[in-house]
């Protein structure tokens, strides 16, 4: 190191403050998304049909994508814009063919996507036919997507902007708090608080998303579980029920107990929660337009040659005019009928008369729950203590609530329970009872549910049946 004299050392030392100054400016980008960042196109499969057989185990942490991909093997159906599912099946079919393994088990039949189990002698032909159809399908999807994907990306970017500059491409968006200023603010906050679970596109597949169970909501279906509108449910294709801003606000404020969704009640309602809600609506609309266009193009009755832009606008209009807009309106809020005087009171507030009435109501609710029209027991097995897993419409797992635990994901107010019974939980197995039950019946069930976690609040005979021997 002869050349490295003291002078060089001093000079290097002097240069250092300059490097330091340079570093100061390095991570200088602000707290919003980079301007050149676009929403990535959807590449994960759309769940079209759920397996008939309910799942028996939870998906392992981090295995969300694998779980969804395995739905066809279990008898469900997917639309995969990258044809990934088909490619895996094709590889398996070819393996069977090359190894001449024609003695197929039921499981393998599902795995290979065969319609029915072929006889041993006709298996080869069936597999060959399957191979050809898969090849054709992959070709179709690839060819179609090659044309569609750029057009779809362009039209989505035009109607919905970018993460840094989001917008909603309908005329009256501003009137509903979906103006670009609010959305831009919402996007910043979303990036800070929600992104790592719910993902850039709101697909519930942010880096953390696959690792928590229940998985974060995938907004792109256009469905939210806990809502209070009377709009019709029915999945992402025909359903027009959306969340009201109040519903989303409540979920944000309360969090969802029993899941990884924490409470954001301490954020400012006006300046933080409101923009967040707008942005979530924006993501949901964008995702649903994308999804329904893909579904219309790649689906079984789909038209690969449809005009993407026209189709997207049609979908957007439908989602907005028949979905979000009416859902926002108070005219479609659930009405609760006549609330019994003894409902919504603490035990301390009940008069002796009301106490008797409440007990009667609880008994009626119990009847409804077990043997009545509602027959909640058919799903909420042993009052929810012995519940099996079920698929929800996202293809992930839900489980009917354990109603003895006093833990309510959609909120514990009598009103919340009323909403849940009245209109069900969207996308999950919980169906709406507004048609089958009168408001007073619903209130009876609500009263029963409110009392159920508290043994001593139940009338003795009900208590014996809920918490009888061996059930305590």
């Amino acid at each position: 190191m002869a050349g490295l004299t003291k002078k060089t050392a001093v000079r290097a030392g002097a240069a250092f403050p300059l490097v330091l100054l340079g570093l100061l400016t390095l991570p200088g980008c602000g707290d919003s998304y980079p301007k050149d960042l676009n929403y990535p196109p959807r590449t994960d499969p759309i769940v079209i049909e759920l397996p008939k057989v309910q799942p028996t185990y939870l998906d392992a942490p981090g295995q969300l994508a694998h779980w969804i991909d395995s739905i066809p093997e279990k008898g469900g159906r997917l639309i995969d814009p990258t044809a990934g599912v088909e490619k895996v099946q094709l590889a398996k079919v070819e393996e069977h063919l090359s190894k001449s393994r024609f003695d197929l088990s039921d499981e393998e039949v599902h795995e290979l996507g065969l319609a029915s189990k072929p006889e041993k002698d006709s298996a080869q032909e069936a597999l060959e036919a399957r191979r050809d159809s898969l090849k054709k399908r992959i070709e179709t999807i690839t060819a179609t997507m090659k044309g569609v994907a750029p057009k779809l990306s362009a039209v989505l970017k035009d109607r919905f902007g970018t993460p840094a500059a989001p917008k909603v491409g309908v005329d009256d968006a501003d009137a509903f708090g979906l103006d670009t200023t609010t959305l831009a603010e919402g996007s910043k906050l979303y990036r800070r608080h929600c992104l790592h679970c719910h993902g850039l596109t709101g697909d519930g597949r942010g880096p953390t998303g696959p690792w928590v169970n229940p998985h974060p909501r995938d907004y792109r279906q256009g469905q939210f579980k806990f809502t209070s509108t009377t709009m019709s449910a029915g999945g992402f294709t025909s359903g027009s029920r959306k969340a009201r801003r109040e519903d989303l606000l409540r979920t944000l404020k309360q969090g969802i107990e029993g899941t990884s969704m924490p409470s954001f009640a301490l954020l400012d309602e006006q300046n933080e929660l409101r923009p967040l809600i707008s942005y979530v609506i924006h993501l949901s609309m964008r995702g649903q337009v994308e999804l329904s266009v893909l579904n219309d193009i790649l689906g079984r009755e789909g038209d690969p040659d449809a005009d993407v832009e026209e189709l997207a606008d049609k979908k957007l209009k439908a989602i907005w005019n028949a979905g979000w807009k009416p859902s926002f309106s108070a005219a479609h809020a659930i009405e609760v009928g006549t609330v019994p005087s003894y409902t919504g009171k603490t035990l301390g507030q009940l008069s002796p008369d009301e106490k008797v009435q409440l007990d009667e109501s609880i008994k009626r609710g119990f009847q409804q729950f077990t043997t009545g029209t509602a027959s909640c027991r058919s799903c909420h097995n042993d009052f929810g203590r012995a519940n099996d897993y079920r698929y929800d419409e996202w293809g992930t797992i839900s489980r009917p609530a354990n109603l003895t635990a006093g833990l309510y994901r959609g909120g514990r107010r009598p009103l919340d329970l009323y909403y849940r019974i009245h209109s069900g939980i969207n996308g999950a197995g919980m169906t709406a009872f507004s048609g089958a039950l009168r408001p007073e019946d619903i209130w009876d069930i609500v009263n029963f549910l409110e009392a159920m976690p508290y043994k001593n609040m139940l009338p003795p005979d009900v208590k014996a049946q809920v918490y009888g021997k061996g059930k305590d």
Partner: protein, 603 residues
């Protein structure tokens, strides 16, 4: 051991020319093994440092995208933004790497191995094969810990303390699956390595000292290594047990650390997932873990104390002040170190009455540390200080250890700990002990023994540039932590800007982050100096520092078998400035002048 034996072994070695593989890779020579530990330690030091820079970048600019890396690591749906579990992984792995792959292997592995036989005048370790094994058991740990970054969910992220139930339940965090399992496996392997090393050090020091090398003629380095090895040998089995129990919990579904969530209730529930009602105890882990890991804190500082004592005496050209008190205080720290583990658990839900006992023991452990500091100062007083690079680093060790030691008293005091437990105060404290003290000690030792290890000197000017910048920037990184700590800034926060009471200290966070990036950059100076000097540094000769201890009588670098003639020791290691000699030093091997009274000093 007789000198005939030495001669015999020396001749056998002369006849054995070993191939490259046996000589440098699967070597049984303690010096090569030490150097192997040193190289892997330095590489890991840079990895650990990069992880720390990730942490600091996030803390300094919590809402910004990580420059360049952001797009690459979190493309597409992740929106270029670091997810919080990644941040947790960064600091967890930073600590794990720095503690288990850098500081402990560098101090005990590298310098323990290199110095022990040389400084006691032995030809090698007592068990050379075991010694080789101790190094090669580090490799499964390197492999598992590095591989764990690439498994699904990422490397361990439950802190280096890996408290159950967070670390124990796979559903509790993305990283509590394979990342955590690999972490556990890696640590078990490091345990084997350390245990092999400890057994070797203890045996070597007891059995293989050169003639005349009585216990109280041993240099402080050897005393420190000796006591550290005993500490490690006694505490490690407990950690290994704990690691295995957690691994069992995570693989075959035992419930050692998995409780019922409340008395009489089911297991803990995380979303849809519920653990079986295990009846285990999360606190049990903390007790087992800290029973090792508190002594481990001393394992990470005692060897540095020993080495720094030797370096200070050498460059102050003055006998170490209070040799015996120095030894006793080392032993005192080690002894008390076994009964203070509970001070990590004051707020853990452990019976607070236990806390009182642990507190008194913990505060008293400051005493031997204080005695050491005073003796170092006593050594400096009236000395003849030569400001070489190793000396500057050693002095930095002393001054920084004072800060780390004093700030520790705050946490030891239980009521004060209520406020500052798990805040940046503790982060500042532990970095003053582990970075500012241990790492400066390690730098001092590297600069000091480099000529003996490789026969060449490191560049002194660039060494000083590296020292000054490191000294400045490390204080810039870690000292303000005491201030944010006094503000009660909780540690391990991904985004402190969520809290209004931390608004004013965010500026300090940014300042610390800038210093941290600079601190990281200036380590490159060291790296270049090290690599360049390895091949081009000037020859150092036998004893470039005019030091007394035995290793400086061996050739540089010493051959297999170390000494050409087996050394005989006549006096203690610190006879600097002795009137007995004309020079200002008097090597341990120099026979006494006829007629002169042999110098034996206790004080």
């Amino acid at each position: 051991m007789s000198s005939a034996d030495h001669a015999h072994i020396a001749t056998t070695h002369e006849h054995h020319e070993l191939g490259f593989l046996r000589k440098y890779i699967f070597s049984e020579d303690h010096k090569i093994i030490g150097i192997q530990f040193m190289f892997s330690g330095i590489i890991m030091f840079f990895l650990g440092g990069l992880l720390a820079l990730g942490v600091r970048t996030q803390l300094g600019w919590p809402h910004a995208e990580i420059p360049l890396l952001g797009q690459w690591l979190w493309p597409g749906n992740a929106g270029h933004r670091m997810p919080p579990e990644f941040y947790n992984m960064l600091f967890s792995m930073h600590a794990s790497v720095m503690i288990f792959l850098v500081i402990i292997p560098l101090l005990t592995g590298a310098f323990g191995n290199f110095t022990i036989p040389l400084m006691i005048g032995a030809k090698d370790m007592a068990f050379p094969k075991l010694n080789m094994m101790s190094y090669w058991f580090m490799w499964p740990a390197f492999a598992t810990l590095l591989a764990s970054f690439f498994v699904d969910g990422g490397a361990a992220a439950a802190g280096w303390t890996s408290y159950p139930t967070l670390a124990d339940v796979e559903f509790a965090a993305p990283n509590s699956g394979w990342g955590q399992r690999l972490w556990l496996i890696g640590l078990i392997s490091i345990g084997v390595s350390s245990m092999a090393g400890s057994v070797n050090y203890i045996t070597t020091i007891i059995n293989m000292r050169a003639p005349g090398m009585t216990l109280f003629r041993m240099p402080m380095t050897i005393w420190a290594m000796f006591i550290t090895a005993i500490l490690q040998a006694m505490a490690l089995p407990v950690l290994t047990v704990a690691l295995i129990l957690q691994l069992l919990d995570k693989t075959i579904g035992t419930c050692f650390f998995l409780p019922n969530w409340a008395p009489g209730q089911g297991g803990v529930s995380i979303g849809n997932y519920q653990t079986p009602p295990g009846g285990g105890q999360p606190l049990l882990w903390q007790h087992l873990f800290w029973f090792y890991s508190h002594p481990a804190v001393y394992i990470m500082i005692l060897p540095a104390m020993g080495m720094v004592s030797d370096i200070i005496a050498t460059f102050a050209r003055k006998p170490i002040f209070g040799y015996r008190p120095m030894v006793y205080s080392l032993a005192g720290i080690a002894g008390l170190g076994f009964i203070v583990w509970g001070h990590h658990m004051f707020q853990s839900g452990m019976d607070p009455r236990l806390g009182t006992g642990f507190m008194i023991a913990t505060i008293m452990i400051a005493l031997p540390s204080a005695v050491k500091v005073f003796n170092w100062l006593g050594t400096l007083w009236g000395s003849n200080i030569h400001y070489t690079t190793p000396m500057l680093n050693a002095l930095a060790f002393v001054s920084m250890f004072v800060i780390g030691g004093l700030s520790g008293i705050f946490m030891a005091a239980t009521p004060v700990d209520i406020a500052i437990h798990d805040t940046y105060f503790i982060v500042g404290h532990l970095h003053y002990v582990l970075f500012m003290s241990s790492i400066f000690g390690i730098f001092a030792a590297i600069y000091y023994w480099f000529p003996k290890m490789f026969g060449r000197m490191m560049n002194d000017t660039w060494g000083k540039v590296h020292f000054v910048l490191t000294f400045l920037f490390s204080n810039g990184v870690f000292f303000p932590m005491h201030i944010t700590g006094s503000r009660l800034h909780p540690r391990r926060y991904f985004d402190p800007t969520q809290y209004r009471f931390l608004d004013e200290v965010q500026g300090l966070n940014t300042f610390m982050s800038i210093c941290a990036i600079c601190l990281g950059l200036v380590q490159l100076i060291f790296l270049v100096n090290f690599a360049y000097s390895l091949f081009r540094g000037p020859k150092g000769g036998l004893n470039p520092w005019h030091s007394n201890t035995l290793e400086w009588t061996a050739p540089s670098p010493p051959p297999h078998g170390n000494f050409e003639t087996p050394p005989v020791v006549y006096r203690g290691p610190y006879e600097y400035g002795s009137p007995e000699s004309d020079k200002d030093y008097l090597p341990q091997t120099e026979p006494p002048r006829p007629g002169a009274a042999p110098a034996t000093h206790a004080h």
